[in-house]
Amino acid sequence: MALSGIQIFKLTPKKNCKECGCPTCMAFSMKVAQGAKQLSDCPYMSEDALAQLAEATAPPMKTIKVGAGDSEHSLGGETVLYRHEKTFVNKTLYATNLCSCMDDAEIDARLERLPQVDYERIGERMYTEFLNVNYKEGTDAAKYVEIAKKAAAVRPVILSVKDEAVAKAALDAVKDTKPVLNGADASNYEAFCKLAADAGVVLGVSGKDLDELYDTTAALEKLGNKNLILDVTMDTAKATFEAAVQVRRAALKDGDRTFGYPSIVNVNRLTDDKTMQEALVATFTMKYGSIVIVDEMDYAMALPLYGLRQNLFTDPQKPMKVAPGIYPMNGADENSVCLTTVDFALTYFLVSGELERSGVPCNLVISDAGGLSVLTAWAAGKLSATSVATFFQENVESKIKNRTLIIPGKVAVLKGDIEAKLPGWKVIVAPLEAVQLVKFLKDLKANGEI
């Protein structure tokens, strides 16, 4: 359980040396208790004190790293169950499924389609991070190894295999890419523990129910393996949902370290229906899957999913921002009218959505307003006649020939000032709400004003 600042303070040297960056040992202790500082930031902690504190201050859920080099991903490390309590740390990642039961053409087609879903959304790269390589009992082991090799060449892989010999052969081929060996269960955990440890890879553990999963995980920890992921996939969606929630909640709320690991959910084993997979992948993004395996990620599934994930995993204390710049809409060019608003992502989405619906070619100009909404930015002085005028003179006037600017209705008061600071520009005030933009723009167009 977490220690209070006072409990930590008792173990500090109480020298107030300031070398940790805090004015006093008391201040340092408080920060450690809140997680803002690490114990190791203090150079004078005694070994005894460190050992005493290590267990108590260890995070309730381990951070596990998978993949090598640029493809390394962190999983887990969460401290809260709900995003408003603090922030979620490591986002849910996704895997497309490959199986030794598929023919070569299907494997190749999937690998060819894999890089198609790869795009940027508000500064974040969206793509399928993993490939799951499933071994079906009784299929050719050599073929499985070949698929694993092909897969590992493009993405970190999850080797879902319960056969020890096949697992070993696949690991020998791809262990340098740091895959997950997802195959330990109550019947084979000793052998798989050794396989994973020898290859230096993360071991995935599963069980037929929560009790078996718990016992097997505890047994693996006893063997000294704490580099684990829990595959919480059960026979049904309902049992899997319970497992995903119980595992996370036990670790974070009830201080049960045995379940303090990231999780894998294989929705591909729960349903064959694509739309139901979409429902379940969203479910386990919201409810505690660290990696979710689907049959195959395509754009239809990805577009809402990655948007949802981005919303879920943003820091609630930091608004999402879009990059300042000129965003042409509906085929706008340098002769199209300009509209401006703030860089708050929600504002941008609402406004750009309405602009697109209007069908009127226009340039949406976003200037840096600290990620605040229009009125807040104006009140904070981040959206002013000067900020708008400066941005237009530095970034817009050289690129856009049109000299009509539409400003948000909520800052109508800036109109005169902007006109004074931006000579040559005609300033029009937009309606108060984004939803009114469609009619507003169409009317302006019909009247020949833009």
Partner: protein, 314 residues
């Protein structure tokens, strides 16, 4: 040593609001656990699925919706077909055409449509207004009057017009009323407080705490859901224990992921209809696992999938 399951029980529960009449009436709410945490306690009757139709007809609807209603020539036909949609529990008539900035249909015309729809079906009915606060203040009381005795849910009363809508819907004509606030727990609570002060009983209020398409500011939607439920169940906050209904279709079918034709969309996006369904389904699921006791959808595939999804987790 087996896993020590610690049940996280709450002493409070979400209120129950009944809509509709007779055999097909449904109860929203009633759970005393976080969504689908059946291992902790009861989910009541489970979340419900509404099928949305509008007064604007079918012209602007996605192809799959048009196909489903093919051959319908009147609002009564459309309503009957909506009632028959597999997986749907209730019908939602959205009077979008009342918006003065849009089609600006008259109150009389819209009330007549509401009456026609209500008479055609036997399942519960939800009537959504035009989103324009002045128009809804005039329109929804008239709808409440015309549908007296049907126990419909009228959406929505907002901060600006709750007096007109709350008084007419719940007090004068004994209907249920939706309380809509803008993704903020304090605004949601405040509206419930003033509505109950007006005399509307808590058992007549269903909340709409805000909605968005996944990726479009949905972070606020999630956190409002989470916080409202934490207060309702964890702190026994009576003014936040109303069940939650979330319009999903009206949000998700207007974003570019659901509307860009394949020919205009970026490479590999694929058929527009599949994208629209995925957006509707994934958003609905995110609402349901956070708090929603009912979601409003429109595509037959989404309705069937979400209904099946709810069953599979209950």
């Amino acid at each position: 040593m087996p896993f020590n399951r610690k049940a996280h029980k709450f002493s409070a529960s979400i209120g129950t609001v009944e809509i509709g009449t007779g055999d097909k009436a449904i109860k929203l709410g009633g759970e005393n656990v976080m969504p689908f945490y059946t291992f902790d306690g009861s989910m009541g009757d489970g979340p419900k699925v509404g099928v949305e139709i509008t007064d604007l007809g079918l012209d602007a609807e996605p192809q799959g919706v048009k196909d489903y209603y093919a051959g319908c020539t009147s609002f009564a036909d459309i309503a009957k077909k909506a009632e028959a949609m597999p997986g749907g529990d209730f019908v939602v008539l959205r009077l979008a055409g009342g918006d003065p900035n849009g089609a600006n249909k008259s109150t009389e015309e819209l009330v007549a449509i509401a009456k026609e729809v209500s008479d055609a079906i036997s399942c519960p009915l939800v009537v959504e207004g035009s989103k324009n606060v002045e128009k809804d203040a005039e329109l929804l009381p008239k709808v409440a009057q015309a549908l007296e005795g049907k126990n419909v849910l009228l959406m929505s009363a907002k901060e600006e017009n709750y007096k007109a809508i709350g008084a007419a819907a719940a007090l004068a004509y004994n209907q249920k009323v939706g309380a809509e606030s803008a993704v903020d727990i304090n605004l949601a609570k405040q509206l419930n407080v003033v509505m109950t002060q007006l005399g509307v009983s808590a058992q007549s209020i269903v909340m709409n705490t805000g909605s968005a398409a996944a990726g479009y500011g949905f972070d606020y939607t999630i956190s409002t859901f989470d916080r409202v439920r934490a207060a309702a169940l964890g702190q026994d906050d009576k003014m936040l224990q109303m069940p939650i209904i979330t319009p999903v279709a009206s949000e998700t079918w207007s974003v570019k992921e659901s509307t860009a034709e394949e020919s205009d969309a970026p490479e590999f996006w694929g058929p527009v209809e599949e994208r629209g369904i995925a957006m509707e389904v994934e958003t609905a699921v995110a609402c349901l696992v956070s708090a929603s006791d009912a979601v409003i959808l429109k595509h037959p595939k989404s309705v069937a999938t979400i209904s099946e999804f709810i069953k599979s987790l209950m």
